[in-house]
Symmetry: D2
Subunit: 146 residues, 4 copies
């Protein structure tokens, strides 16, 4: 990312729970999908669009595709920074991009994982695709850059 | 339990998933609540009352109370036998009792945990208590014994 | 609890994740065990005893018993206050007591659940019981009251 | 897949647990990673190589990359067929490919998701890459086709 992206991205802090570790002594890989979900819904909430409210209005954002690369294991009690931004979007789908890192004591950081998640927009009563409502379009325009 | 209870109990087989282990190298204690849930819904299904169907009829069975004692750790790939039966019931609540054990190679078994789970009966549209429908009453009468 | 207990208790904030909800539209009951775990390990960390560090010293605190009463459902994005304190302890076991509540907009609060969790102290290499190390005894004495 | 692939693939049956549903009324997307894990470890076990045994020998197979496309939602109590086979492998990494489907009552089936998972081979004591042991190489040769 360039500096120009910085204002458009959101950072969520995820602390690895004990229950999220596995017998290899690391955060089990499936839990990263929860960190990604928490980051993008945190981003929506920070924009004034809590996802729970969207669902109450009948708008659902189900996950259609996930791609994630695990670089370095994360450990119990690690505080992970989950950076998220909009990579692209169309009228009824959007793709979030993520970088997960762990801050080191010395001031640097270790890359933990990178990912993309594509969501569709559906009408919850019919589960059929629908175009994004106007406030979500505004969210996308603001965060996706020109 | 006595032999007289045997016909009234149901046994569910739970295999410990890798994702269910934690860094202590054992099945994390919270997952046992999933084994208990799978056992009692398996018992309902075996009786011809899949819990999903109850919900589609507007009947919910939320958990009100859990008490569980952990005796011996369970490990990855362990096959656990979860025995479940009805301990007691009233018009709108029921209590399941459980014994979880692991069969040993020599033919004996190791007690892993024991538990009770109390469920209420609610109307899903209002979330208010309601008495059990007649087919659930029949299930309770058959499994609880005199 | 009385006011005299207040200084000895610790409060952890748990936000209900989307992945923690179930099709009944509430936080699934098994996840409460994670909130309890996060609260007691948060309490240990606040006292300068991160649980991960205890394990690196070979000290494990496995769960032996859980008892939990669910009073009111918790929903997606709810911020729950998990109050925890030491109910009692012996040389190699301790019991945490919990109250979980949700703050209402009007300034009051709704009781969500209450629980106790008993932990043993074990030597991780042998999985055998051992007495608490001195810094854990100090933690217990400070938090358990006279 | 062609018929020629059929003998080389393994099919795992996954039943959607209640705890795996979310408030959208479907199996939460993160749980699919557990179905994939259960399928590939089931395949290893069927070949006489239980993954737990590999770990006891100091061989770990951590996940390096996941790519998953969700096509149709899965529901509570659905029985999913998770077909898995080896897509490719090198000396210290292998890629599993998956098709998840649900059998319909009429005899057909609905595609639920497709995925690939790449695993590395590591020495568990050092967490460093190592080449596959000979029995894993034999497993790969047998399942990956010519």
């Amino acid at each position: 990312m360039t500096d120009a992206d910085a204002p458009r991205r959101f950072t969520h802090e995820a602390t690895v729970r004990y229950a999220e570790t596995d017998q290899m002594g690391v955060a089990h890989h499936a839990n990263f999908l929860l960190y990604l979900e928490d980051a993008r819904t945190g981003m929506l909430r920070a924009h004034g669009l809590p996802y729970g409210e969207l669902e109450r209005r009948g708008v659902g954002l189900p996950v259609r595709h996930v791609e994630i690369r695990y670089r370095t294991p994360a450990f119990y009690e690690d505080v992970l920074l989950v950076h998220v931004w909009i990579e692209k979007y169309r009228s009824a789908s959007m793709t979030f991009r993520y970088q997960i890192e762990r801050e080191d004591e010395g001031g640097g950081s270790t890359p933990i994982a990178s990912a993309t998640v594509e969501l569709a927009c559906v009408d919850l009563s019919s589960r059929r695709p629908q175009v994004f409502p106007s406030d979500l379009v505004e969210f996308l325009e603001r965060h996706a850059g020109k």
